[in-house]
Amino acid sequence: MSNEVLLKDCVLVDLNVSPAEKNAALKEISNQLGNALSVPATQIEEGLLKREEEGTTGFTDGFAIPHTQVPDLKDVRIGVVTFENSIAWESLDGQDIEIAIVLLTPQAEGNQEHLKLLSLLSRKLMNEDFVKEIKENKHNQDALFDLIAEIVNK
């Protein structure tokens, strides 16, 4: 398995979640990413839910960045998820969430370089042009992968 932060299998396009609300979305995300990364889905789901309790990860423009540490994960991984129906997520600007960038870090001391790549990605999400580009490609798995891999797979 390659040691890249973003795997193609972790780009999930037009995920169908019902009901279209946060907890159901996090459950579905955890199942899919757990499969793709060979870690227990419950570990991911529990961590993501707990982080949401500390404060919502939904920010502005229909974006959310759910994130957590995952005990069985070996290195930093991310997931890119777009939804068929936008998700109620109590975001900062009240908008429903169209796109979730899921950041997963290992419990153990993470790869510092990879952590830095995550911080780069987080910063990039504050860039209007980048956000626009992602939104325009929200139904296209290949394009989404390329856009984000360009930042994090180094």
Binding site: G55, H67, Q69, L115, S119, L120, S122, M126
Partner: protein, 475 residues
């Protein structure tokens, strides 16, 4: 010159919001025409760390932090906007605009003059952190000294009677109640001084351990001594406790424990350690110091030819720690002389105790520009306290500028002591200041007042000289 902002971002996990907030703040600040540097405290450590130079040159500081920021003491004396990451991500411009009604972080006491608000960075940049922390304690303490001092002074002046037990206010009168209220103010000033020095160093978590321990250090019963450590001990506790709590804050604790650290672990452990240190380590030395000073005074008092030296030494002792063990010994020695039927020593003490507060009060009210606004406004209460013989009125000044105030009040007080010894002033009431003379407790009111006036004149001229030299230097 472009205005500049520095800031820190930090979130619980440290992989997303920290950087999103930093990015948003940088974008907004640039758009608003500021130079900007944001420090990120995230999972991959602290990046883009702010240097002392960065902070010094910044016009103000903006935080977007959901958890406690490391290195808070770096920002003492700056205006700091305390925001969280959602506020920054949602609308950084609004967050930055909050600067309009943002006070200086824990540096309230550092304002030195009117023009301070126009160039806060330049001045606060010149002050060392320890000075800012000290001034934070002093500025919080001043209102307590003013209230306590005025209530006590007025109640004694109006309702007090000079007796062999000192100035006694008949119980049950309104003056006795007023005096009791004033005593609360004076009692509180010690923990407030210590607590807000600690607060400037380590934040709110330091308040409980430092304030409680300051009370302990001023309770002779607990220490097993005849006197507490006074305000000098309070300053020591403020710094010791501040750095103790700061160190405790740096402990790496499991996430589940973090919420109970500032409300449970740090107060309990901090109080136990700090108070324990003072009870077990300081009680002995203070008792020893007091006994040694007592022996020295006894030896000097035996020989009439050394009465001038005795006057000078008592003067220095009275002005040295104001309410601490050294001052206390001089006072108790004077009181003992009344019962031994040689009230000359009490006469010397009575001359000296008025000098420190009168000296700072006269200097600050005649040359207000040389002192901070707070000190100028504390000058009238200081003079009133001096007239009633309450030495503690000089504490805020001494705590804020020890290097200049202590020499001035010690020399002024020593001069008054020498004069008192030369004029052979006696005082049969265990209390001092002009009030005891006015109430007829001294043998020669004119010479008694003259001694005080000469001491105050010498002390305040010296203080004005030292202050103006320091102010010129600063410019």
């Amino acid at each position: 010159m472009t205005k500049s902002i520095v800031g820190v971002t930090k979130c619980p996990v440290g992989i997303a919001h920290t950087y999103m907030a930093a990015e948003k703040l940088e974008q907004a600040a640039k758009k608003m025409g500021y130079e900007v540097k944001m420090e990120t405290q995230g999972a991959s450590g602290t990046e883009n760390e702010l240097t002392a130079e960065d902070i010094k040159n910044a016009d103000f500081v903006v935080f977007a932090a959901d958890v406690a920021v490391d290195g808070m003491d770096r920002f003492v004396g700056k205006k700091v906007i305390f925001g969280d990451t959602p506020a920054a991500i949602k609308d950084s411009e609004e967050l930055i605009n909050r600067i309009k009604d943002t006070p200086v972080y824990n540096g309230a006491g550092s304002s030195k003059s009117e023009d301070d608000s126009e160039e806060p960075t330049q001045k606060s940049g010149q002050q060392r952190p320890a000075v800012k922390q000290l001034l934070n304690g002093v500025s919080h303490m001043i209102p307590f000294v003013v209230v306590g001092g005025l209530f006590i002074a007025l109640s004694i002046a109006i309702g007090g009677h000079a007796t062999a037990q000192g100035m006694v206010i008949p119980e049950g009168t309104i003056w006795a109640k007023m005096n009791a209220i004033g005593v609360f103010g004076f009692t509180l000033m010690i923990p407030i001084l210590a607590g807000y020095i600690g607060d400037a160093i380590a934040g709110r978590a330091a308040l409980a351990p430092v304030m409680i321990s300051a009370m302990v250090a001023n309770s002779p019963d607990i220490l097993g001594t005849k006197a507490g450590t006074g305000f000098l001990g309070a300053i020591l506790i403020g710094f010791a406790g501040g750095y103790l709590v700061k160190w405790m804050n740096s402990w790496k604790v499991p996430k589940d424990l973090r919420p109970v650290m500032p409300i449970f672990v740090i107060p309990l452990l901090g109080t136990a350690i700090l108070s324990g240190l003072f009870v077990f380590l300081l009680g002995g030395p203070i008792s020893w110091l007091m006994t040694a000073l007592q022996d020295m005074l006894t030896a000097l008092a035996k020989n009439p030819s050394t009465s001038i030296i005795l006057g000078a030494i008592i003067g220095v002792m009275v002005a040295s720690d104001m309410g601490g063990p050294i001052n206390k010994i001089a006072f108790l020695f004077g009181v003992a002389s009344i019962t031994a039927n040689a009230p000359q020593i009490m006469g010397i003490v009575a001359c000296c105790v008025a000098v420190p507060p009168l000296t700072v009060g006269v200097a600050a009210s005649t040359r207000g520009k040389l002192f901070s606004k707070e000190e100028s406004s504390a000058s009238i209460p200081a003079i009133l306290m001096g007239l009633i013989g309450i030495t503690e009125g000089a504490i805020p000044f001494a705590a804020a500028n020890p290097k200049r105030v202590f020499p001035s009040i010690m020399i002024g007080s020593a001069v008054a002591g020498i004069m008192g010894a030369i004029f052979k002033i006696t005082d049969v009431v265990p209390h001092g200041g002009p009030i005891v003379g006015v109430l007829g407790a001294t043998n020669n009111l004119g010479l008694f007042l003259l001694s005080i006036v000469i001491g105050v004149a010498v002390g305040s001229l010296l203080l004005i000289f030292l202050q103006s030299r320091a102010v010129k230097k600063a410019k």
